[in-house]
Amino acid sequence: MGTTKLSGKNADRAHILTANSLLTGRSLYWTPEGWSQSPDNAIRAENSEAVAELEARGKAEELVNMVVGAYVVPLASRDGNEPVAMRERRRIAGPSIALPGALTGPASA
């Protein structure tokens, strides 16, 4: 993902930083403690300078090979961490369906 242009509807929105784990591919969110699978404590960028800082952090994290595909996600409201985009909401929530099969392998973790 390239640098996000904060124009139009996204200009006034808060953003959080997301990526996927290099090892597992899981969705991750940048928090004060580092990467987390939950966006609950994600660092929010409230203005364009802060968004640029988050994006720079994402690129730096990619270079140390912990994550891939870092990008910022606009949030629906100033309070709460629900993204605007349906796709991003699904990344947070996981599949909406009951998964078949027993959770047996290492991927179950």
């Binding site: 349906m86 699904r90 990344r91 996981g94 599949p95 909406s96 078949p100 099969g101 027993a102 991927a107």
Partner: protein, 550 residues
Amino acid sequence: MYTYDAHDQALVDARAHEFRDQVARRLAGQISEDEFKPLRLQNGLYLQLHAYMLRVAIPYGVLSADQLRMLGFLAERYDRGYGHFTTRQNIQYNWTQLSDVADMLDHLASVQMHAIQTSGNCIRNVTTDAYAGVAADEWVDPRPVAELLRQWSTLHPEFAFLPRKFKIAVTGAAEDRAAMKFHDIGIAASLGENGEPLFDIWVGGGQGRTPRVAVLFEAGVSLPNLLPVLDAMLRVYNLHGRRDNKYKARIKILVAEMGLEAYRDEVYADLANRDGSVFDEAPKEYARIEAQFAAAQQPPLTPTNVDRTDPAFAAWLDENVMAHRVEGYAAVTISLKSKGAIPGDATADQMKAIADLAERHSASEVRVTHRQNLVLPWVPQDELRAVFDALVELGLAEANIGLASDIIACPGLDYCALATARSIPVAQRLSIELRERERREDLRGITVNISGCINACGHHHAATIGILGLNKAEQENYQVTLAGRADEGAQVGSILGPGFDAESLPSAIHRILDAFQALRKDGEDLASVYARVGKDPFKQAAFAPLEQAA
């Protein structure tokens, strides 16, 4: 079945070994993601919404019992206990970890399988009729030519970076059960007067955002000429295909823009200037492959009068069991579409149990259909009851093959990074409702296919009722198409009108079916009714309540 020779085995072993090294270097930070991404994609490893997804090739949809057992083992050991059979006769694991993939590829290589060219802009897994070699209406077994194409296309150095992905399907029967005309190249085999196979080559079919039915490139191509012609067709595409715009990069756009005649002229001009001797051994190799498939054909048995007194068994015989070309056998299709199930998903336990069934009752063979079901191709007629009873125990005896509830669905937004809406929950709800409905009325020949985005992995364009999930202002919205066909009379479905939200979609589908039942004459199918009456009656039925409410 085809068994790898030393060359085949050495190739997949080396490829698995090579990928292990690539993963190690990536995890050690010695290569960047930009460098690694094309390498992992060439080995079928995608990064999806929630995890890595590994797509494993099932060449022309044919599996041995041991191979299916291995697929079950991989699901159990390295994933979350299940896999997803796709419309391209492959299987996908949705929850793999990067550090496990090399081990998975080693396991696959140990049973003559791999994930090579299941992604990327190359020639993908060649698909064919899931009933190849056993269908009563077959002229030529398409598997030997499919295997020949696998060998020709695997790691073909000239075609590793085509303008876009390239899909080939082969069929050899009166009924097209491989959606051949919806492929970049479709090959229809028949028998010539001298008993040698002849191949009609179709080009420029496909789905996605620009759906096209393939056009006939050349009829009656002989076996010695087949690979040279295909090679030249790919070469001209590779040269002229649009690399500037990925949405115009498929061969269907090239053929449309050049015109079929100009494309054909260029192919034959290329062919005339090439040394074709590289293909001189192809007929001999075809004969070697064909002999292996012929050797696996089973000897005829005495036909059996199967007891149909049990209504559940009789219904399953009617819907899921197909006539066989060899006396005394039947081909059994195992529905992966039981009521409310996720289309194409099978658990590790189910895969292993079906492998056991294949070993006991089907000459150790299983097939994957492009409608996301499995086939036991060699069941002796006097063992049908035992197979049915075993499937009942496994929860896999749904008698709905070819009925409306036999729904195709892609993974959609529950898994896929490209999806714009969910497919699976829509399929689950419709399968429950349609299963109820088809117990009351005849819905044979209705196909319901659902795609979660315009890329059309769920083949919605080719369904009598197609459903395309879209993102409308960050809400799921479902566009309906009608009267598509995937068979020998292939046609692209017509868009009915504006889309429906997820809640109102099922009732709209029921109203379309109501209209169909009211309008049909003499057992017409939906495409025939649509051709006779047009779109308006269906559109009025689908949208009437919404217009009244407006």
